[in-house]
Amino acid sequence: MKKVTKVFSVMVASVALAAMLSGCGGDKKPAGGDTIKVGGNLEMTGGSASFGISSKNAIELAFKNINDKGGINGKKLELVVADNKSEAAEATNAMQKLVSQDKVVAVIGPNLSSATIAAGAINNGSKVLDIAPMATNPNVTVDPATGKTKEYNFRACFIDPFQGTVMANFAKNDLQATKAAILIDNSSDYAKGLAAFFKENFIKNGGTVVAEESYLQKDTDFKATLTKIKAAAPDILYVPGYYQEVGMIVKQGREMGIEIPMAGGDGWDSAKLPEIAGKAALNNTYFSSLYSPDDDSALNKAFVSEYEKAYKVKPDVFAALAYDSALLVAEAIKNAGDTDPVKIAQSMAKINGFQGVSGTVTFDAQHNPVKSAVIIEHKDGAQTFRTKINP
C-alpha cells in the first residue's frame, strides 16, 4: 500500500510539474478560440503501428466530414496526434503531453489494452475523457482493485466475452444448433471468457453442451480430442481460440469427417487461416467480429467509399472503431454544449442509441458500449459478411 501511495504521489508531482512548466510558456490560447483540440494517443510506430495509422486516418476523415458541415457548435475539430510507440510507458508520456501541453478536451486511443490501462491513470487524474477504439480488456474502464468504473475511460468496442453471447444466439437462431461441443484454448483468458459466455447463453437458449474439451497454444495434434468430440455427435463446434491452432483444428476435424459448422471469435480473423486450414475445409465456418467492411448499413457504405477514396484501401476494424470514437467524441461535445472536459465526459456517459459505422452504441454503467456484432462466414477461403446480431 505504501508503495502505491508513493507511486501515486510521484505521479501527482509530475503532473503538477508538467502543468507548471506548460503554464510558464505564457502563450495560452484563449479558451474561446474557434478550434477544439482532440488528442490522438496512437500507435504511430512500433509493433502495432498499423493499428494506429488506420485509426489516425479514420479520425481525420471523421473530423473533416464534421468540419465541412460547419463543425461542432460553430467550432472546428482539430486532431493532435501523440505517438505512443505501441508501448505502455510511452502511452503514459503521450497522454501527459496531450493533456498538459496541448490541453486537449478529450483523447482518442490507444488501441492496445495495456497502453490504455497505463495511460488511464493520467487522464483520470486530469479529468480528461479518453475513448479507446479497440482496447478490449475489462480493466480498461474498470479499476480492478476497487471494482469501480473509471470515470474518464470509455471504449468503442465491446469487451471480449460478449462475442460468446453473440455466437450462442447465432448458433441457435441461424444455424438451428441444439447440441454444441466447445474446444477451449486453455492458455488464453480471451478464449476462456468467450467459451464461458457461449456456454451460458447456448444453454439459456435451450441447447445442450455435449462435449467440452481444451488444448494449449502451440499444440499441433487434435485428432484424439476431435475423435472424442465426433463421437458425442454435436451439431456445432465452438472454438474460440486464435487462428494458428484453429486452422489445424478445422483441417484435422474435416479430415476426420466432422462436417458440422465450426465457429469462433475474432481470434480467427487472419489471412493465414485459409492457408493453414485449407479453403475447402473452412467452408461452413463462422466467426464473430466487431466490424465488417461489407456491412450493408447506409452509414457504413458511405464510410467505406469515403475511406477508400481518401486512402486507397478498405477500412479495417481499427479504422472503423476509431471513426466511431471520433463521432462519439464530437457527439459528446455537441451535447455538452461546452468544451469543459468534465462536462464532455458526463455527456459521453449519457450517450444512448448512437448510430456509428460499426453499429449502435449505448454505454452501460461500466462505460462499455452495448452494441451489435457481425458474423463473418468463410466461403472458399474468403471472408464474407453473413449477418449482424443485436445484443
Binding site: T220, K223, A224, T227, K228, A231, Q244, G247, M248, E255
Partner: protein, 298 residues
C-alpha cells in the same frame, strides 16, 4: 457408450496415437543415441527437429523439391548442424562436470530457438502440401494417407538405423564407445569421429521427424521443438535411455497414452498423463521398460 462404439473409438484413438507416437519415437531416438554415447541429455535436440522442419520448408518452397528429396536434403543439413553443434559447443566441454554440459545444452537450445526467430521471424509458416492428403474410410474408421506416410517413413528410418548400429563397422564402433569409451580408445577407435557420427545420425532422424510434422500439421514455427523435445525425452526415459529399441517403444507408448487420455478422459489431462508416466518410471523402474538395472560402479 455401448461396446461397438467403444471399440470403434478405441481403434481410432489407437491409429491417432501410433501416428503421433512414431514422431515422438524419431526424436527420442536421437536423445537416446546421444545419451548412450556421451551420457549427455541433449536438450537442444527438439530444436534440431525444428531446424529440420525449416530445412524441409526451404527445400520445398525455394528449391521446389518433392517429398523424398526434401526429406533427404533436410536430414543432410540437420546432420551437418548436429556435427557443428557437437564440435563447437559440446566437445570443448567433454571433460567438464556433467551439469556444465547440461547447461550448455540448454544454452544451445535457446540459441537455436531465438536465432531462428531472428532469421525467420516468430510468425508460423505454412508448410506447402507436398502431396495431397487422401482420406481412407475403413467402415467408421478414418485414416489419412499422411498418417500412413509418417508411420512408414518412421519404420524405414528405424530399420536403417538398426542396421547401421548392428551390422556395420561404424555401428560396432558406436556400440563399443557407448559400452566403454576408454577401452574403445585403447582399441584404436577414433572416439571424436564416432561421437560426430552419432550426432549426425540422431540429428538426421529428428529432422525427418520435423519434416513429417511440417507436412502433417501444415505449420511450423521457431518454438515448435520445445514441447515435442520434452515429450521425446519422456519417451526415451520411458523405453530406457541409451537403448535404441526402447526409444521406439517409448515413443509409441507415449503417443497412444496421450490419445487414449484425450479420448476417454479429458484433453486437459493429456500432458499431465505424459509427465506422470515420467515420474512413475523414475520412481519404480528408473532404467526404463527395456533397461536392465546396472549397479553403479563406485
Amino acid at each position: 457408450m455401448d461396446m461397438g462404439s467403444f471399440m470403434q473409438q478405441f481403434v481410432q484413438q489407437l491409429i491417432n496415437g501410433i501416428s503421433l507416437g512414431s514422431i515422438y519415437a524419431l526424436v527420442a531416438l536421437g536423445y537416446t543415441m546421444i545419451y548412450g554415447i556421451i551420457k549427455l541429455i541433449n536438450f537442444a535436440h527438439g530444436d534440431i527437429y525444428m531446424l529440420g522442419a525449416y530445412f524441409g520448408f526451404i527445400a520445398t518452397t525455394m528449391f521446389g523439391f518433392s517429398f523424398i528429396p526434401a526429406i533427404l536434403f533436410s536430414m543432410a543439413c540437420a546432420a551437418l548442424a548436429g556435427i557443428i553443434i557437437e564440435r563447437v559447443a559440446y566437445r570443448p566441454m567433454r571433460n567438464a562436470p556433467r551439469i556444465a554440459i547440461l547447461i550448455t545444452a540448454i544454452g544451445v537450445s535457446f540459441f537455436l530457438e531465438y536465432s531462428m526467430i531472428l532469421i525467420a521471424t516468430p510468425q508460423p509458416r505454412t508448410f506447402p502440401a507436398v502431396f495431397e492428403a487422401t482420406i481412407y474410410h475403413f467402415g467408421p474408421l478414418v485414416v489419412n494417407s499422411q498418417q500412413i506416410v509418417i508411420l512408414i517413413s518412421a519404420l524405414i528410418l528405424m530399420a536403417v538405423l538398426t542396421y547401421i548400429v548392428q551390422n556395420t563397422k561404424a555401428g560396432k564402433a558406436m556400440r563399443a564407445v557407448s559400452f566403454d569409451a576408454d577401452a574403445a580408445r585403447l582399441m584404436g577407435i577414433n572416439i571424436d569421429r564416432v561421437i560426430s557420427m552419432t550426432f549426425a545420425l540422431g540429428s538426421a532422424l529428428a529432422a525427418a521427424g520435423g519434416v513429417l510434422v511440417g507436412i502433417y500439421y501444415n505449420s511450423i514455427d521457431p518454438l515448435m521443438g520445445m514441447v515435442p523435445g520434452i515429450k521425446a525425452f519422456v519417451a526415451a526415459v520411458l523405453g530406457g535411455i541409451g537403448i535404441i529399441p526402447g526409444a521406439m517403444l517409448g515413443g509409441i507408448i507415449l503417443g497412444v497414452v496421450e490419445a487414449m487420455v484425450s479420448g476417454f478422459f479429458s484433453s486437459t489431462f493429456r500432458d499431465a498423463a505424459a509427465f506422470a508416466i515420467l515420474i512413475l518410471i523414475l520412481l519404480y523402474k528408473p532404467a526404463g521398460i527395456l533397461g536392465k538395472n546396472v549397479r553403479e560402479k563406485v
